[in-house]
Every structure is written in C-alpha cells, then in structure tokens.
Assembly symmetry: C2
Homo-oligomer: 460 residues x 2
C-alpha cells in the first residue's frame, strides 16, 4: 500500500497530553461541583437512531446531522429508480435516510429526553443528571467552531420547583469561582417575553418580537422598530413596546416597571415576573455573590424553553456566552411522556477552555504530570534505580526512568522537554553511599538524599 500523509477530518481535533491535562482540570472542576449538588453522571451512545434525532433541531439541524451508513449492503431493497431520482434531484436527503438508520449525537438534550422516557419506570424522580460527552455537527468548520466538540450539561427533570433554578445559579457561581473566572449571569423568562407579546396584541409573534429585541444592543431602537414593522407589527403595538425596551435600573426597578407594563394584560407574563422575583429572592437570601442581572432582551434560540432562561459571560475576556440554559416544560413529550418539566444548563467546554488559556488561569501543576526522571546509568545501578523508583511510585508519585543507557545530555533534554521537575541520579557512588543525588531542573540545585527519604523529598 502506498504511504499516506496522515491527517484528520476537517473540524476535528487531536488532544495532546498538555491539552488533555488542561481539559481534565476543567472537566474535573465542573464535575466535582455537579456531584456536590447531587447530580449523577449519565452517558448515552454516540449513535442514536436517526428517527430519534430528525426533526428535533429544525430543518437546518437535520442537515447538520452526521449520518452513519448502514453496514453490509446498504443499497439492499432500494429501487434503482429511487437512486436515479436522488442523483438527478441534487437533494439526496431522502435516499440518505434510507441508506442510513443511525446518526451521531447532535447534542446531549435530545438523547437525555430519550433516555428519561425509555427508562421512566426505573428512574427516581426528580432525576438529576450531568453528562459530558462529545457531539457532532456537520457545520462549516471555522475558528472556535468544530465538527466534534464536548458539551457539558446538567439537568433535573420531574420537578417544577424554582429551587432548581436557584441551585443552577449556585452551580454557576461555584464552577466559575473554582476556575477563578469572573462572570455575570443574565436571567430572563420566556413567560415574560410571551407576556410582552400578549400585551402589545401579538401573542402569536413572540419569537419574532423576541428576536428583534435581541438585536437592540447592536442595531438600536429605530432599526428594531423597523424590523418589527417588517414582521407585521402595527404602529400602535410598536409604540406600546418602546417603554418596555427602554427599561433601565436594577433588577427590582425593572421588575416593578415590567409589572406595571404587562401584569394586568397577561396572566402568563405575571407568572413569569413572579418566577423571576422568587428566584432573585432566594439567591439574595442565600448570599449568592455572583452578579445576576435581569435582562429582558435575553432570548436564547431554543424553542423548547418555557420558563427561566440563563446566559453566562466572562467579565474579563471577550467571548460570547460560555454557559446557558433554561426551563423546558415538555421536552419528553415527543417521546410519549408529557408533562415532565425540567431545567438545565450547559457549560461550553471549548469556550471556557479558551477563556482559561487567554487569562492564563490554568494552574501550573496541571501540566506537570511527571515528578521525577531516574537517570539510566545501566548495569547494576539501573536495577538500584528501578527499585527506588518502584518505592516512589508506590507512594503515589509519578516517576519514570529513561529506558535506555544514553548520554546524560539526552536524558536531561528529555526531562526538560517533558516538564519533569527532578532528575534522580543513582550512579556507582550513590549506590555505595545509599544516597541519591536529586537535581531540581528549574533551579539547578542538587541535593543528596538518602534512598529511604526519596519519596518524601520528591513530594515536597
């Protein structure tokens, strides 16, 4: 076979040992917070039946699903005419779903909903789970956007209690405090957005209005109003909306004003206001220090949210949302289990990674995986070194011996390039005196250390 120049598919990545060490630090930190709050790990298969995935992410999402070709004779039972039609139509997606029954996971939410419904009789509700796994999307790859990337979701289903929203806010606070990233959390409520739409006489246009509001910061009030007119809102409705869009002040001031504007006109809106108020009351009473800001322009795209919505941004680094989520009242309905409310948030692992890297917040010890290199002198000294190293490892300290008897410079270079802190010399005189020479590569300092004390010395 011809020799191939190796490469990987575009939009995918290898994670080198250094990147893995950093990612493990990130995931371990997040997981340890999740666990403290009583969330348990779950994993679902990489492949789901296409029927589970199709139609759950909109038309655009369907196109971005990676399909897995049926094994064996994938054309079996397909009529030549069907293939011909697909070739000619320039749109072979119908054929695609016939020759592929499986697809790669597109997110963690739909597989989670599928899992909950499938196992509803075994699960204890409220069911609290976290899930950290890769997902795949056939998006055009670009900077910061990959075709394989990790999602990191935490959800609770089977309870409408707002304590869960409060707990998610505490989790956000704890995760980013542990990572030393300063963040702000924006909160809104889909019921308020519905209430606004209802108040201005356009309950049917909630998504359009929400999307226009979403652009306020970028394009200004006049452009937003133009867009609303284009989307079919009359002058009166637009005039009614204006004071709501221009709400300012702290959370309590905004709540008072929005109550005045919509509570009388929309029972749903009033309910949303009450929910936000309750959540803010709890976070204050519990001394949550994370800045929580009510932002009526926060919309979040996903259609399945029905209550609170959240979004988190880093304060000291320019980056989009690094964490977001909300409450959904009927995610499991499509799989035949109605009336199961849930709430969850998703941490954007790749973006948080970039923030940590950009702000130089990865602890130095994260990537120092090996503590000591035992120099290989060969002969009887090698065996003495191997025995000492076994003791060091038994003490839980990562250590290596250079596997060949090569020049000192090569062994030193290896230790340095690997980021190993200590070199341990066990040569002839060291064996005679039962005392090794331990060199700190950073400082150059050399210390004689009796054999029995080496584990303790390296642990310092």
């Amino acid at each position: 076979m011809a020799i191939q120049k190796p490469s990987i598919p575009k939009g995918t990545r290898d994670f080198s040992p250094v990147e893995m060490a950093r990612r493990n630090y990130l995931f371990d930190t997040i997981k340890s917070v999740f666990r403290r709050y009583g969330f348990q790990p779950l994993e679902t298969p990489s492949m789901e039946n296409l029927s589970t995935l199709l139609g759950k992410y909109g038309e655009e999402g369907d196109k971005l699903l990676f399909k897995v070709l049926n094994s064996g004779n994938f054309l079996k039972g397909i009529e030549p005419e069907e293939v011909q039609a697909a070739v000619e139509s320039d749109n072979p997606s119908v054929l695609g779903t016939k020759i592929c029954e499986k697809g790669l996971r597109y997110d963690l939410t739909v597989p989670f909903a599928r899992y909950v419904v499938q196992h509803q009789n075994e699960l204890v509700f409220p069911f609290k789970r976290y899930q950290i796994q890769p997902v795949w999307r056939a998006d055009r790859p670009q900077k910061g956007r990959y075709r394989e990337f990790y999602q990191c979701d935490v959800d609770v289903v089977g309870t409408k209690s707002l304590l869960n929203e409060v707990e998610l806010i505490q989790i956000v606070q704890d995760v980013f405090a542990a990572l030393k990233i300063r963040v702000t959390l924006k909160i809104n409520n889909r019921k308020i957005l519905y209430g606004i739409s209802e108040t201005i006489g356009h309950a049917d246009k909630m998504m359009e209005i929400t999307m226009a509001i979403d652009k306020l910061d970028k394009i200004g009030i006049d452009a937003v109003n133009e867009e609303l007119a284009e989307r079919g809102l009359g002058a009166e409705a637009i005039a009614k909306l204006r004071p709501i869009l221009e709400l300012t002040g702290d959370n309590r001031a905004k709540l008072a004003k929005i109550t005045e504007a919509i509570a009388m006109h929309s029972p749903t809106g009033a309910k949303g206001i009450e929910e936000v108020t309750t959540i803010l009351d709890y976070t204050e009473a519990l001394g949550v220090t994370l800045p929580v800001e009510l932002d009526l322009s926060l919309a979040r795209g996903l259609n399945y949210y029905t209550g609170a919505i959240f979004e988190v941004k880093a304060m000291d680094f320019p980056m989009g949302s690094i964490c977001g989520g909300g409450r959904y009242d009927d995610l499991t309905g499509i799989f035949g289990m109605p009336d199961t409310s849930g709430v969850g948030i998703s941490f954007g692992a790749d973006r948080i990674y970039d923030v940590l890297l950009g702000l130089d917040l990865f602890p130095a010890e994260t990537t120092q995986s090996v503590r000591a290199l035992f120099v290989n002198f060969g002969g009887g000294e090698e065996l003495a070194a191997l025995k000492l190293m076994a003791e060091v490892r038994k003490a839980g300290i990562a250590a290596e011996i250079y596997p060949e008897t090569v020049k000192m410079k090569k062994q030193f270079d290896y230790a340095q390039k690997r980021g190993i802190l200590y070199m341990v010399f066990v040569g002839e005189s060291e064996v005679a005196s039962q005392t090794a020479t331990v060199k700190n590569i950073m400082t150059g300092e050399q210390t004689p250390v009796p054999f029995g004390e080496i584990p303790a010395f390296l642990e310092q």
Copy 2:
C-alpha cells in the same frame, strides 16, 4: 409529529448513573496507575479519514468499519452508472467509500500511530501515552460484544528497551492489585514463534503454525497435527514440532528446552529467547509478585506484533483474556515513519467491569454519590435548610434538598431509592434550638446535631 417509542441502536448502551459510577471507579483506578508510570493522556477524533482506517484491520475489519455519510449532496460527482453497478453487484463497498470519506474509530492503535507520525516533530521520544475512548465495530451484537465499547490502551513508542515490557508487567500487577482481581499474565515472543517455524523448515508458515498451536488446549495434539498437515506441513516438520508443543515445567525449564530445540537453527528464535529471559530476570529482581508464565502457545491474532506478546486472565472468574498486548516494530511505517518500535497493552474495560461485578469487587461507596438529603418543610425552615446545605456542600460533601414540600414518606422514599445515607431534618423546633435531627437511613438512628457541626458529622 407522531410519538415515537424511544430506543437505541442495537449493540449500543446507555450507562446509567450506577453504571457510570462503577465505570468511573474502574477508569480512575487504571488512569492513576498509568499516570504514576509517567504515561500521559491523549485523545483522537471519533472520526478518522477512511483512508487512515481502510486496509489496517484486514478484509474482515474493513467490513466492520462504520462509515459516515458525506454531508451535503453525497451523490455529487457520482456517475449514475456507478450507482447502478453497485445496486446490481450486491457489493456496494466501492460506492460506500465514494459517498463516505470518514469512518468511526475502530481501535485506538491505528489512530495513535497516525497521531505519532503526524506530530513526530513536536513529540518528545520515547513518547508514553494512554488513551481511553470508545471504538465502534459493525459486528453482530451478542452477549458481551457491543458495537460501541471502550478501549483503554497504554503504549510507549520510540524505544526498543525491554524495560518498557517490564514496566507494562508492573502496570498490570498494580492495576489488578488496586482492583483486587487476582490475575495471571502469560507471555510469549513472536520471534520464538518464528524461530520454531524456521527450525521445522517452514518460516513461511509462521501464522498457520501459530494458529494451530493456539488450539492445542482445546483440540489436543493429534487434531493439531492433522490441521498442520492440512496446511501443508510435511510429516518430518510435524514430528520436529511435537516435542516443542509438549514442553512442560516452569519458565526457566521451558526456556532451557526451547533453547535446545531452536536456538542453533534460528538466530531470530534465539533473540526471542534472550528477550523473554531478560524480561523475566528484571521482573524477578524487582520482586514482581504477579504470576508470569511463559506460554509458547500464546499467539494473539494481530499481525503487527514482532516481539513480546502478553495476555492476562482472571484467576477467580471464567472470562477470556481481560488485557493483552505486545511489541510492534513498524506500526508507524504505513504512515511514512519507519523504524519506530513501540510496545503497549490494552485493558478490556467491559470484561474487567464484568469480572468486578461478578466477584462483587466494586467498593460499596462507589455508588453512594449523595451523602445527605435535607428534608423540605417549606416556609422559613426551607431557607434555614438551604443555608445549612450550602455549608455542607462548601465542605465538599454531596447533599441535596428535596425540591418540593411534599409528604415525608415521599421524601424518605426518594432518599432510600437514591441510596442516600442521611436525612437531615430542619423543622420549626430544630430552627428554634439551632440543632438539626440527622437520621441514618440504614440504622434508623436519629442524632441531634448542632447546626455548626453538621458538615463534620456527615463526613464521619
């Protein structure tokens, strides 16, 4: 959309919280040993270019690759005649490789070789990595055989030193000691198998002879000899082979006999004997207590092995090999990087999981993820409970509050089903006395614990 009864593709699995907790215990144990020996984590993409995978696992392996359909118009540029031919031929594999450029990872070895070659200029050699990721094979699913399963590989490349083989044996010892599984390790060497073939005049038939020897235990010497004859070995060769197949005694006795039989006839065989001897010398000198047995009938299927081969079995549970590997001298050659020797072993996660489960060796605390449930009495008591719980979590203890004010029985059932050990009651009288009642669900014992002492009490 019609409601779907949810299911997952055959041969795939969901991992429930309890299974995840057990799997994490297994993986964490293995990883901590790998790290202590200086191995570093690596991850490669789930999808590789099909050209990277095809031809690396034999014809059968090619068929078992899961192919990923090209996104967009996958039929673009395909002539209708090609499709027609594929439909008619009953073998659409050529078409498959045209409409699919990517495939799912089949093992961790080939992607590792691809990674090493692709990044050879950045890597520090010897390069020691471990990799724990799922792989996919379109095998017929059956008990214990899945289409998605985890492999758990540890390899070092860029050194021929036998110290690496010794280290892998130590790793096997440490991993299974930590897991409390008693195991035996069988060792052989491909060079000895070649030497045997060469000695009996059939160097060209090494794989056939090896495969026949492999069956000795099952079918006996006469049937093996018949099979060898069928495969083209003459009576003289078969007669020469017999005493080698009937070797008995301890490792040293076997080495002496096999030396006598082949060392003079085969320099390669002599080299293999020397390698095994060196490895055994080191393990003895280092006090390795793991039983290591030289087994000349150990063959292992993979063609790329060129030196030592290993296989590990559990002593107290009927199960095939739970761990295996060997040395390969030219795995990276196919990707354009010759003469790079490596050695590695792979731990069979699913099988080890089954052994741990079968022998009841998962520590009980593995699945006890939440320590305490705070009972929700609602009202002002709820807030007191929430504040106390925040202190408990701050101390690193996993705790929950029942999110709704429901009947005590429901909250108790929840705690019991979740396997939570303690229930913490913070009712009216407890708030008045600033002393909670803590109930141990296992024993039923109730203890009054002052608020400030709750974290310490729960940690006991």
